[in-house]
Symmetry: C2
Subunit: 418 residues, 2 copies
């Protein structure tokens, strides 16, 4: 079969299944999620055997250790996939929730009901655990899903897909509700991105390169975030202990993720006292400092920062620092260089805290907290399918609720329009 | 200046203004809306003079009477534009509303706050009243707007834009918050649709041709609806009087709009009794009937319907009728031919009513009410910027709330992540 036909057929089956999945009861969906978890555990040896084929090819190709790590299905990773599915089963069903009901003067009762988006396409790198995680979230939210993982993980994904499909079949969920594209043909993603009639939304998960490729080529709406250039602004009225703790935690606790801080903004009037404090703890942790002229004057060890540094997501133990005049200076910097991900102010000043919360329109804005909290689990969403830094549909960490939309429901007793 | 530079400059100014508009108080925004209304009234003669130039050219070009009608700025249209702006001023400000606040175990207070989308692009046909209507809704929701109306209405739009800009200037709203593209160059829309860094969302308003052109060419997310193929399903347990009233009202009251019914689905067991009733009133109103074989057997005056008829938005006194086995038959027909706009069931049966509400995932689903109610005013949204039949971001009639999104706000007292 031609590649385009093969992908079209998968998407068409997903569309047909989506009508059925949308109306499954929570009991059936949760039963399938539990069965999927059990299936992964019971087939752990098979999964590891299939994963070994991917790993062998990956090593031959000379993939980096980090990539090999993400590709590996260890007993621990399999257990965590199963646990993730059980956690999703335990979450509240996001479908069918009725809100905003009002009675109109003519007696019509009008409200909104949450419904699934329909068919979701997930495009991700060679991390086979995403296959089970994303499939679980899409099923729980009543969506059909078409998954396409990185080509290095094909054998692992095929094995996981088989386990998930068997669980679906056992539990009354249409098999086509969860489909994994396992062709080795690298053109599969491009074919998938054309199918706007069959797929309602694409969620790419991975590095900026993958995401830009998807956005450039998709006819289907994409929910995405390119990068997290997160800021902490230490205000003149900051509690110094909070400021040091938060600026340290936001940079150092896990520098390789999108909600870690990349640029530290410091109020002019406390720069001379604060910068040496934070530089001291950064030095111990091996953090490289790139600063503006004023920063460099206070911290002789700092390198000169360029505009490119302020726009960059280092994902590493490197921090850009800028001394600003005041809150307006911090705002202007964030508006120019920010990525709409997460910004935090450290201050004891009421007006500045509230102005920051109100006036900075990034997807997460914080007062006296580390940017590292910006994720679905920490926010209590119970799960996270991704983060959006575009304002349409979802903005910030996306949980199950963001995989639904709302229709209007209207209850009448014979009303007609005059 | 080259066209691309001209349009880029407008969009860039809009982006810069959007940061300021987002944080204007309701008082300032409402003051500007009132001033805009006053300005339109006081400049009615000027508007009519400029409009006359557009009208003269339109008549020369031989535009249809309907198009000339939509293009005309009569005293009544101007008064209604002014009244519309005052109504928007009276609506609740949709920006800054805090919801979903929860306290996490670590003491973080996390909630969501509504914020403007940013810069909205509106592309519409030669209906100059849309210029004021859309500008008012975008301003009230804290967005900057770039408006591009049909090329036949350029002089009218330029005059309206001047009045709106003067009102903004008087009231502390940045002038670039409301900009109208008035070049005669027809390439302006294409240039506008490229500016994904400057414009957050495109809302096209007009016929299916315009909307498809925008979707095909836009790099910016588009909120849209192509057409409304709305259905009424008369169930076996329908109250006959309700069924006749609703099926008549939905088709005849205003056939030229998207929420009028195009296809009537009738349960097999009542077809023989119901069809002659509705055919009688349709005949008096001059409605042409195109039916399935069963319909034609009952109604000799009916023409044979084709699949194309069932997929068509007639926008006219033509109705397609199909006899179906039961609710599942109606569902299958709607899933195949529907446009996700509005569907209504007429029934006294509790289970069928609730199944219809739950299982049909169109943007509006109704029980015992005319599809004609599917609009923002009738739903109590206070205004309507358009209707979306795609599920992302907004689904159904869009009011002021749909011109906003929600960011996460996080209040801490020094929390760091362990």
């Amino acid at each position: 079969m031609a590649l385009s036909d093969e992908i079209f057929l998968i998407a068409k089956k997903a569309r047909a299944a989506s009508f059925e999945v949308a109306n499954l009861s929570s009991t059936i969906k949760n039963g399938a999620l539990e069965e999927m978890a059990k299936g992964l555990e019971e087939n752990a040896e098979l999964l590891k055997t299939e994963n070994a084929k991917d790993l062998a090819r990956a090593k031959e190709k000379g993939l980096t250790e980090a990539m090999i790590n993400r590709l590996t299905l260890s007993q621990k990773v399999i257990a965590s996939m199963a646990a993730g599915l059980r956690e999703v089963a335990a979450l509240e069903d996001p479908v069918g929730i009725v809100t905003d009901v009002k009675v109109r003067p003519n007696g019509l009762r009008i409200g909104r009901m949450s419904i699934p988006l329909g068919v979701i396409g997930i495009i991700y790198e060679s991390r086979p655990n995403v296959t089970a995680d994303a499939a679980g979230l899409c099923l729980k939210s009543g969506n059909a899903v078409v998954l396409r993982g990185g080509s290095e993980s094909i054998d692992s994904n095929r094995a996981i897909a088989k386990v998930l499909a068997e669980a679906c079949q056992k539990c009354g969920v249409p098999e086509a509700a969860i489909q994994v594209i396992t062709t080795t043909d690298r053109g599969a993603v491009l074919e998938m991105l054309k199918l706007e009639e069959q797929i309602d939304i694409i969620i790419p998960r991975g590095g900026e390169g993958l995401i830009r490729f998807v956005v450039e080529n998709s006819k289907i709406p994409v929910i995405k975030h390119y990068k997290g250039v997160c800021h902490v602004y230490v205000d003149v009225d900051a509690d110094m202990e909070n400021a040091v703790n938060i600026a340290f935690n936001a940079k150092v606790q896990r520098p390789g993720v999108c909600n870690s801080m990349e640029t530290l903004l410091v109020h002019n009037d406390i720069a001379a006292s604060f910068l040496p404090l934070i530089a001291g703890v950064y030095k111990e942790a091996g953090v490289e400092i790139r600063g503006c002229a004023q920063t460099c004057a206070i911290l002789p060890e700092a390198k000169q920062a360029t505009d490119a540094d302020y726009a960059k997501e280092f994902l590493d133990l490197i921090i850009a620092i800028k001394v600003v005049e005041d809150l307006d200076g911090a705002k202007a910097h964030i508006e120019r260089f920010g990525s709409l991900h997460t910004e935090s102010i450290v201050t004891e000043n009421y007006t500045n805290a509230e102005r920051f919360i109100r006036e900075i329109n990034s997807s997460s804005v914080m007062v006296n907290a580390s940017t590292r909290f910006a994720d679905g689990f920490e926010y209590g969403l119970g799960a996270e399918i991704g983060i959006s830094t575009t304002k349409l549909h979802a903005f910030g960490p996306m949980g199950l609720g963001e995989l639904t939309t709302k229709k209007f429901i209207v209850y009448g007793d014979g009303q007609i329009r005059e």
